[in-house]
């Protein structure tokens, strides 16, 4: 029963014992005195003298530093991003949603409407509580108005609060995920570093070539 297999196992576990750990602390990282001083940009002695309260806290292990979780740009988060200017209220997203959790009510807009204003949105609700983040609504959006968000900290105490309304979408931080939006990756847009200010940036900007248009509209008819 006792051979070389067991000692080898002990060596492996000891090797892992000495490795740095692979987990991450979230939402904040606990720092000691040295970490807190480094965070404040001083050396520990300075920190101890200048900010005795904070240093005591740090020694007691209560000082924390917020942690940014490493995420991919395509992360499908639940803080949806939405550009009202781009939306035509076509309700493609609502039709494509496997769970039917997107509710859209639209009314005809003014007669002399600009592009994208021919329909006015009255209601645009996404029930995040039942959403499964498949991203099909984003995939279905023909004008790149709806994007998956990169944030995910939307837990609420009441289930009804999980419904994202139009106003909430409109006011939310514009940090769209690159999910199904290859143009973001081409433009080098990083949702974790910057916000998207201009709704024009969210578009696909792809123009069909003359030959393609001709093929589609002339040759095939």
């Amino acid at each position: 029963m006792i051979g070389m297999g067991l000692p080898r196992g002990f060596v492996v576990t000891l090797k892992n014992f000495l490795r740095p750990h692979s987990t991450e602390q979230y939402p904040d990282r606990h720092v000691g005195l040295f970490g807190a001083a480094k965070e404040a940009g001083m050396n520990p002695v300075q920190f101890l003298v200048k900010r005795p309260g904070d240093s005591l806290k740090a020694i007691a292990g209560l000082a924390t530093v917020p942690v940014k979780v490493k995420q991919s740009a395509r992360f499908r988060g639940n803080e949806f991003t939405y550009f009202e200017e781009r939306c035509t209220a076509c309700a493609s997203c609502a039709k494509y949603c496997p769970l039917g959790i997107i509710e859209i009510v639209s009314v005809p807009g003014k007669i002399d409407a600009q592009e994208g204003e021919s329909y006015k949105l009255e209601v645009f609700d996404i029930d995040i509580g039942r959403c499964m983040f498949c991203g099909l609504c984003v995939e279905a959006c023909p004008y790149d108005a709806l994007h998956m968000g990169t944030g995910f900290e939307r837990s609420k105490y009441v289930r009804d609060d999980l419904v994202i309304t139009k106003d909430e979408l409109w006011d939310a931080e514009k940090r769209p995920s690159a999910f199904y939006r290859p143009q973001f990756e081409e433009n080098g847009f990083d949702p974790f570093a910057e916000e998207m200010e201009d709704f024009h940036d969210a578009g696909r900007h792809e123009r069909k070539t003359y030959d393609e248009m001709k093929k589609k509209w002339v040759d095939e008819r």
Partner: protein, 423 residues
């Protein structure tokens, strides 16, 4: 008051501060006590209570630290951080856990035997603490130096199983009963090699008192008694139901075994007892095999003891983290067919050596070590050969011949699907 009793510095300090015109204290430069003369019996009683309280609280405090340390070490072994939220490096986690445990609802199953159900946690926690009464944790720092100390330890530790059985029986749970039966089987099997492994140590020291055993260790007995240490270590792991012998609790099989129906502080007491057992086992190993508090001079003896204790604890945790669990029959087979033989070899060899050098000096101990190590290695190797499974030959992918005919025959030409479609 006996003079031997006052060799214990811990007792003496407390006692002599209390006792009045005691001659023993006067002989040791304690001028006078707090109590009037003739009240030595009260001083004795009070000092006994104080010493016991100090010890018990020190152990419980140690357990709190141990739980935290063990979880941190688990984390390190498993490449994660371990508890880190509460207090510096998570040191207050166990305190928070203890408070949480106390405030939980105390559930008693409807079918439980209430008296026994409530008695079992006490029955398991008390003996675990009592073990420490004979262990010297520093020069003259102990509760009592029994002249049958080793025997006392063996007797008290085996009480654990009784309370496990009580807990399982009273909670009227089939899984708990299974766990308790395993616990009893484990105890019956491992108590014997555990006791016999200590025979070598007792022979070398010529005494069963732990104080004398430490005194006798001119060199740590782990060097002189490798086989005894090996057997005792494994048997002790089994005795406190630690991996790879954690059959009683086996969470992947029995969920929590005998603890299934316990909640709140009753569960807390079981949990506590388990960790006290771990602490006491390491203390016993430290005392018997690592020369206890002995060390080089400038460093105080208590620190030596603590360092050795932590070392042993680390090894126990390392074992627990590394090894998968054995099955019941394998565990019992290992005790009866493996460890028992090894202890017998150890006793015979040690007896012969003691017959040659009845009162071994340091040099003679070194010679004994030189003889015992080869004996230990050879005998462990032989026993493992006799017991172990043969090496498992894994076939390389290309060499293995298929045993079942697959794709050996061909269909008639007309059988396949016509008009394409490959399946």
């Amino acid at each position: 008051m006996s003079a031997a009793f006052l060799d214990n510095s811990l007792w003496r300090n407390v006692y002599c501060v209390l006792a009045g015109e005691s001659t023993e204290c006067a002989a040791r430069d304690y001028s006078s006590g707090l109590l009037p003369g003739g009240m030595e019996w009260l001083a004795f009683l009070l000092s006994a209570l104080v010493v016991a309280a100090i010890f018990a609280n020190a152990i419980l405090g140690g357990v709190i630290v141990l739980i935290w340390g063990e979880r941190r070490l688990f984390g390190r072994f498993q490449n994660r951080t371990g508890p880190n939220r509460w207090g510096p490096w998570g040191t207050l986690t166990s305190v928070a856990d203890a408070i949480k445990t106390m405030f939980k609802e105390d559930l008693v199953p409807a079918e439980a035997d209430r008296i026994l159900f409530n008695l079992a946690p006490v029955m398991i926690a008390a003996p675990a603490l009592i073990v420490f009464s004979v262990i010297p944790v520093g020069v003259g720092t102990y509760v009592a130096d029994l002249n049958v100390g080793v025997l006392f330890i063996m007797a008290v530790t085996s009480l654990t199983t009784l309370s496990v059985l009580t807990a399982a029986w009273s909670s009227a749970n089939r899984i708990a009963i299974l766990s308790a039966l395993r616990s009893v089987a484990l105890l019956v099997s491992y108590e014997i090699p555990m006791a016999l492994a200590l025979v070598g140590v007792i022979m070398l020291a010529g005494s069963m008192s732990l104080g004398s055993i430490i005194e006798a260790q001119a060199i740590p007995f782990i060097l002189v008694q490798p086989l005894g240490f090996f057997v005792f270590f494994l048997a002790a792991m089994a005795e406190m139901a630690r991996a790879p012998f954690d059959l009683t609790e086996a969470e992947s099989e029995l969920a929590a075994g005998y603890l299934n129906d316990y909640a709140s502080m009753k569960f807390g007491l079981f949990f506590l007892a388990e960790f006290i057992a771990e602490l006491s086992t390491s203390a016993i190993i430290t005392t018997l095999f690592l020369s206890g508090w002995k060390g080089w001079d400038p460093i105080p003896s208590h620190l030596w003891f603590a360092v050795k204790l932590i070392l042993v604890l680390f090894v126990i945790i390392w074992f627990r983290m590394t090894l998968p669990r054995l099955r019941v029959d394998q565990v019992l087979k290992f005790a009866w067919k493996g460890l028992f033989e090894l202890t017998m070899i150890n006793i015979i060899v040690t007896a012969v050596l003691i017959a040659i050098w009845p009162e071994p000096s340091t040099t003679e101990l070194w010679i004994m070590a030189a003889i015992n190590w080869p004996v230990a290695i050879i005998s462990i190797w032989v026993v493992s050969k006799l017991l172990g499974t043969s090496a498992y030959e894994s076939p390389t992918p290309s060499e293995s011949a298929p045993v079942y005919p697959v794709g050996t025959e061909t269909l008639p030409a007309n059988a396949g699907v016509q008009g394409g479609g490959d399946k």
